[in-house]
Amino acid sequence: MKRELFALTIVFLIFVAFPAALFGYQAQRTTTTGARVIALTANAPANGGWQPDAIRVNVGERVRLRIAAPDVVHGFAIPALDIYVDEILPGHVEEIEFVAARAGRYPFACTRWCSVDHWRMRGVIEVIDPGNPDPPLPTIAPPLYQQMNIDIDAPHPAQNVPAQRPSAARGARLDVSVPGDLRAQSPSNVFAELRGDPALKAYSDGQLWDVVAFAWKRASGDPASPGADSALARGSKLFVRDCAACHGETGKGNGPAGRNLPGLAAMQTDSRMAHGAYAKRGPADFTDAAQMLGASDVLLQGKVLRGGMGTGMPEWRTLYSDQDMWDLIGFIRSFVFDYGMSNAK
């Protein structure tokens, strides 16, 4: 009978104590963190997207996100809180802890291309101040393109196109300064102004284009770090992360994810599109000087922050800070202007 009791104890341990220990360990891992643990599951949008996609936490509360990715590789970012998890491998769990200091709505998003609908994979963390649960909504200034009344869907062909790729390095060696705020002007117009200046008659068209390229490179710079490389590097990082899948690593508009955009296919059969022929192109080719040099930075910013309204081009207003936006546009210029970066192909 003693043997039987021993065996029975072992079987009991296997069927009851062992599972209890497993689940107990998991529960203990959660309770001993001292933070509020929130399980977040990253699924590709077709499999359900973020679960949950809305999270409420309190100001000052220590929050620990436990992020799992059951299907493919995902990433996670709350840009406004400067929280980034660059890689969540399937079956792994990434943990990140934060304390939100200020109330507000903080969008989060997947940062690794995970399916054709990757860009839909977004959610929001609402940080609430219990003492002031219903603060007035912040007022947000309308974007520049609206303030300036620019139709960002209208064609914007460049009036002047350089014969060779303008080089910022060559432009820097020429003693020509370009006055004024460049953001509202297209490079093509700035070139036309310089060309019309009798004092610059001695310079060739190519040289003036080099001057324009240098002016744009300098303007895209980060005031805090002269030389502008850090701003361009940040812009490059954003481009690789968010844009290259459709617009291509070389900016030619031929990325694999942009080839069969569902919105685009619908547009190609819809004759009522205001600028039909223009919208049908698919992802913009950033190396196309005839288009790019006719667009001001403000116009490009409008396109990026508003998105393509059904073409498959997402809106980035909710995820990008102003600085992100200008860094990215500064970098996008490098597909036409030679900034001496390695991406020139």
């Binding site: 039987e4 599972p19 360990y25 891992r29 059951p70 769990v93």
Partner: protein
């Protein structure tokens, strides 16, 4: 077969272990927690199969253990340690290790229906699992539900039927383990048949105060092949005459006996042979459309796949083999029926089939076994790191060597198949040339496998 055997039970410690009532309970006590964890991980763990204990430890670690080690070298030993029928058997006995007086079992004790006293149901259950294997192998939840269903059916059957009816007649795994256990270099047999004849009580079959009657419904004195002996060692305990032994023997010894050859076992051999080839094509081949079709259960294409899969297993491969048997009969101008040749020759496919399964298994086991380190530390994919191995990278082991391992294994299987085909011709009193169509069939199969892997 009495030749060339070595009685392992002459070693006192071996004897002591086999007679002990702690066997097989202690083996099951080792596998049961793994089984429980596999089911829990499948039900509650991550859906990412490569990081779920339920997938990795069942379909990679357990599969490698059974197909590469236990079956070739220890036959049905897995059946002795299998956790699936254990709860039912314990319930039948209302005991874990102790014998009951008289070995009476708590079960309705229905007799298994005569018409299913064969392995056709095992052939069917294996084909059913094999058809859905792409889903079962890759989806932790489905895998866990299938395993849990096996356990529940085994439990229910042990309450309704006498002894281990599930293992003997229904288990999809037991069917092929039994077939290939004929190759294993070990066997449980009685030492002296004459002694058994003098023993009136037949406690090995009906049970005694020392233990239970054979759970596998086998009369040990009648054992002449491993196919239906579950190696549970109950007969070592119930034989009052010390007449049971564990023997080491040459590989494949069971296939030298021509008695008791049956169509259901022959079909088991065809199904296994066909599935080894089919999996090598569908799972490990470069044709993604096949994988996607096999995965898209319920679609029109899947029904075509399912029909082709059954046709290949039940008609095409056996049909080709039947043609070879017919040709053999023509060559020999034999009086034997083609059907009899068909069944007899099919046993030559046993070593060929096992070699094909070992070759197939090597290919995905070596590549994927490094997942085992990760799931040991994090069985549920919940972010645990129990042993510090959770973040070890996926590393294929010996990936470049796999074809070089597969070639000799397939050739050994082929040589054994040829020996058995020639032997079968002699047993059927036909000239040796009557084996040549079968030899050609086996060589063609081997070349097909080589073409897929080399």
């Amino acid at each position: 077969m009495t030749m060339n055997r070595l009685e392992l039970t002459q070693v006192p410690i071996v004897k002591k272990i086999l007679v002990s009532r702690w066997l097989p309970w202690s083996l099951v006590a080792l596998t049961l927690p793994v089984f429980v964890l596999a089911i829990l991980a499948g039900l509650f763990g991550t859906p990412a199969g490569s990081r779920n204990f339920g997938i990795v430890f069942v379909w990679i670690v357990w599969w490698a253990l059974v197909m590469l080690l236990l079956v070739p070298f220890a036959g049905r030993l897995w059946c002795a340690m299998c956790p699936i029928p254990a709860p039912g058997e314990w319930l039948q006995r209302r005991a874990l290790v102790q014998p009951r007086a008289g070995g009476r079992l708590y079960t309705l004790g229905w007799k298994w229906p005569k018409r299913f006293n064969n392995i056709w149901l095992q052939n069917a259950s294996f084909l059913a699992v094999a058809l859905f294997c792409v889903v079962i192998l890759t989806t932790p939840l489905v895998s866990a539900l299938v395993l849990a269903a096996f356990a529940l059916v085994a439990l229910a059957m042990s309450l309704l039927f006498e002894r281990r009816a599930f293992c003997r007649y229904l288990c999809p795994v037991g069917g092929f383990i039994g077939l290939y256990s004929q190759l294993a270099p070990v066997e449980v047999r009685v030492k002296d048949h004459a002694l058994c004849a003098t023993h009136k009580n037949k406690t090995c079959y009906v049970g005694s105060a020392a233990g239970y009657g054979c759970p596998w419904l086998v009369f040990p004195a009648a054992l002449d092949k491993n196919t239906y002996c579950g190696m549970c060692t109950e007969c070592f305990k119930t034989c009052p005459l010390d007449n049971l032994a564990l023997y080491a023997r040459p590989f494949g010894a069971d296939l030298l006996t021509s008695r008791g050859r049956r169509l259901d076992e022959a079909y088991k051999a065809f199904i296994m042979l066909t599935c080894a080839l089919a999996y090598s094509i569908v799972l490990l081949g470069p044709w993604s459309v096949l994988k996607e079709t096999a995965y898209a259960v319920g679609s029109v294409e899947w029904w075509v796949y399912a029909a082709s899969f059954f046709a290949a297993n039940l008609a095409i491969v056996p049909g080709l083999f039947f043609a070879c048997a017919w040709l053999a009969r023509r060559i020999a101008r034999a009086a034997t029926s083609t059907r009899e040749l068909f069944v007899a020759y099919a046993y030559a496919l046993v070593p060929l089939g096992l070699a094909a399964w070992v070759a197939f298994s090597l290919s995905f086991v070596l590549v994927n076994s490094s997942y085992a380190w990760q799931v040991l530390s994090d069985p549920f994919g919940w972010g645990w790191n129990l042993f510090g191995t959770a973040d070890w990278k996926w590393t294929p082991y010996l990936a470049g060597w796999i074809p070089l391992l597969q070639i000799p294994i397939l050739l050994v299987g082929l040589a054994a198949a040829i020996a058995l085909a020639l032997r079968a011709a002699r047993e059927l009193r036909m000239p040796q040339r009557a084996a040549l169509p079968i030899v050609a069939f086996c060589a063609a199969f081997t070349l097909a496998m080589l073409w897929l892997y080399v």
